[in-house]
């Protein structure tokens, strides 16, 4: 008995050490990034890894903002796109799912099969046709072209439908009808509140993936005033910041830090959301 206890304790310790190692691996790049954002280029060139912050933050900021990197512009554009995308995608996906769950119509089954068939196809793969279409109607630098496609989000409709079937009882819908409520009112006043947990989960992930998206904005946006944050970040790799290490680390920190803070604040919900997303898979 004693021997197996020891054995068990050893295994547990080894597992814990492995986890600590992986945790350090997860954090280390970000720690280096944040600390180096406060150090001068000379300090970084002497020793690129240090855990002690220095006092060159203001100086790095001056160098960073003196060139083409405009984080506030990128931040605002990304915010507009991500907020609108999230609102449209969650509202219309829930609406579509409602149409598929509550009503009996001839093409319902075929429609849902179609959604399942297209939900794995990434938008990136048909970007040449999308770019040509948008270019032809002179809309390349319009943020709306990055927002409106969110109305049709097949995988979110799939998720919402799976969630709605057990969550929404058709008797409630029926009794609201008897009380004289119109169909859209029933959706907005009864179905939407019931779907809140699913909407919250999907909203977080839509927001994050929209915020982090590089490919589509990179192709559509040529006007510097319309650049999103990921495009701004890509400027840090350009020649103009080649020797300004401190400024580059600061620029990267400015783009990562808000996400890290929001993530740590919402981590409980985000991790539960990742797990939920797989349940029906």
């Amino acid at each position: 008995m004693k021997k197996s206890d020891n054995h068990h304790y050893l295994a547990k310790t080894l597992i814990f050490i492995a986890c600590v190692f992986l945790a350090i691996l997860s954090l280390f790049p970000f720690v280096v990034m944040l600390v180096n954002a406060t150090r001068s280029t000379t300090q970084i060139q002497q020793h690129a890894v240090s855990l002690i912050p220095s006092s060159y933050l203001a100086n790095n900021l001056k160098v960073l903002l003196g060139k083409s990197f405009k984080p506030s512009v990128g931040f605002m554009n990304s915010l507009i796109i991500s907020v609108c995308t999230t609102l449209l995608a969650t509202y219309f996906s829930t609406l579509t799912a409602y149409g598929l769950v509550v009503y009996d119509w001839k093409l319902k089954r075929a429609y849902f099969s179609f959604i399942m068939a297209i939900m794995m196809i990434p938008a990136q793969i048909t970007m040449i046709g999308f770019y040509q279409m948008v270019y032809k109607i002179h809309m390349t630098n319009k943020l709306s072209m990055l927002i409106l496609p969110a109305i049709a989000s097949p995988s979110m409709v799939f998720f919402m439908r799976q969630y709605m079937i057990p969550a929404l009882s058709l008797e409630i819908v029926q009794s609201a009808r008897i009380d004289g409520a119109k169909e859209f009112l029933i959706f907005n006043k009864i179905a939407l509140p019931i779907m809140k947990p699913a909407i919250a989960t999907q909203a977080i992930f839509t927001f994050v993936s929209s915020w982090n998206n590089l490919f589509t904005p990179l192709i559509l946006l040529t006007d510097q005033k319309k650049y999103t944050l990921p495009i701004m970040i890509s400027l840090l790799r350009g020649d103009i910041y080649k020797t300004e290490y401190g400024a580059v680390y600061l620029g990267l920190s400015m783009t990562a830090l808000p996400l890290i803070i929001v993530y740590l604040a919402l981590s409980k919900y985000i991790i539960a959301g990742v797990a939920l997303g797989s349940v029906k898979g």
């Binding site: 890894v49 009996d104 048909t126 040449i128 049709a152 982090n212 944050l229």
Partner: protein, 327 residues
């Protein structure tokens, strides 16, 4: 009653109409248009007019025989396979540890939060951060290795093709194993506890339980992970594009970066980029078709089968009745 449900049917169409319209404009039309451009001479910056080629498949032949595309395709598959295998093994190991009732790992929640964190950060930021980390001569990695005496001279990692590939594989694994782990944990937690209790009663050890109980029960979720990861992998863009611009010597060039370079740099070959896109489209459709086949609502499929058999039996009976009547 029947009349009432019939009158509500139109709302089914109305509620799904915005999706239908947005899908037709922003997905169906661009897909069709991409396919058409693949057969045309559309190239050159700002061009929108095109003619069909005399040899319709010329662009496809050019792409399929292009050594750069072949190399990009090989890289894409290689980078995905080499990141998916360690990612899945690591995620399985961690998921097995975190769900094993005999170990209660202290700080389990905090570990999950940290392992998943790289996944949430903008890939563009991570690509450029790793470019800086592996900088030469005095990037952080070189600094650490020389300080601890692993190497005597700073090493220019990113001009070596194999190292560049290795770092991309590392970044992908590092970004995604936490996600895969959470998915697998939720899969394992979904297995009925009675099965585990039965295994315990039968005297199965940890490894036997994992191999004979846990693994077979999360097959579907593992398939889901495999297919979503494969489709994401076939579209890998941000990391290879911003980490080393596909270099050195095209060692980290993926098909997505290739398509982007064809269409939006050099001589703006929209037609060839479209042809390459359609080749990838077909591959991805095939992969997602396999997924669709395996993930069909199994109960629904069973129900269909039973109903079909009943209809067949009914017909047979009626035929026999008719025959009997004639005789």
């Amino acid at each position: 009653m029947k009349k009432k449900s019939f009158s509500y049917a139109k709302y089914g169409y109305i509620f799904t109409l915005p999706f239908t319209i947005a899908y037709l404009i922003f997905s169906a039309y661009p897909t069709l248009y991409t396919a058409i451009i693949g057969f045309t001479d559309l190239k050159g910056i700002g061009k929108t007019d095109w003619h069909f080629l005399k040899e319709p498949f010329a662009n496809f032949v050019t792409i399929l025989t292009s050594p750069t595309f072949q190399n990009a395709f090989k890289n894409t598959v290689f980078l995905w396979v080499c990141n998916f295998i360690p990612q899945l093994l690591l995620a399985l190991l961690l998921a097995a540890w975190f769900t094993d009732r005999r170990f209660k790992i202290p700080g389990e929640g905090a570990f999950k939060v940290m392992f998943y964190m790289p996944n949430i950060i903008t890939a563009a930021t991570i690509a450029i951060l790793f470019n800086a980390l592996f900088g030469y001569p005095m990037g952080p990695v070189n600094d650490l290795l020389t300080r601890f005496g692993f190497i005597s001279q700073p090493y220019n990692f990113l001009v070596k093709k194999s190292v560049a590939k290795g770092v991309v594989i590392f970044i992908q694994t590092w970004m995604w194993y936490g996600y895969t782990m959470i998915i697998l944990i939720s899969g394992i937690l979904g297995i009925s506890p009675e099965i585990f209790e039965a295994a315990e009663v039968d005297g199965a050890n940890g490894w036997q339980t994992f191999w004979h109980v846990t693994l077979p029960n999360i097959r579907t979720i593992m398939l889901f992970t495999l297919v979503t990861s494969l489709i994401g992998g076939l579209n890998m863009f941000d990391i290879p594009r911003l980490f080393l611009m596909g270099g050195p010597d095209n060692a980290t060039l993926t098909t997505s970066v290739f398509i982007y370079n064809q269409a939006f740099s050099g001589s703006y070959m929209y037609n060839r980029a479209a042809a390459a896109s359609m080749i990838m489209f077909i591959i991805i459709s095939a992969v997602s078709g396999i997924m669709f086949y395996f993930l069909r609502d199994k109960d629904e499929a069973k129900l269909h089968k039973v109903m079909k058999q009943q209809i067949k039996a009914e017909r047979r009976r009626q035929k026999e009745l008719a025959k009997g009547g004639q005789a």
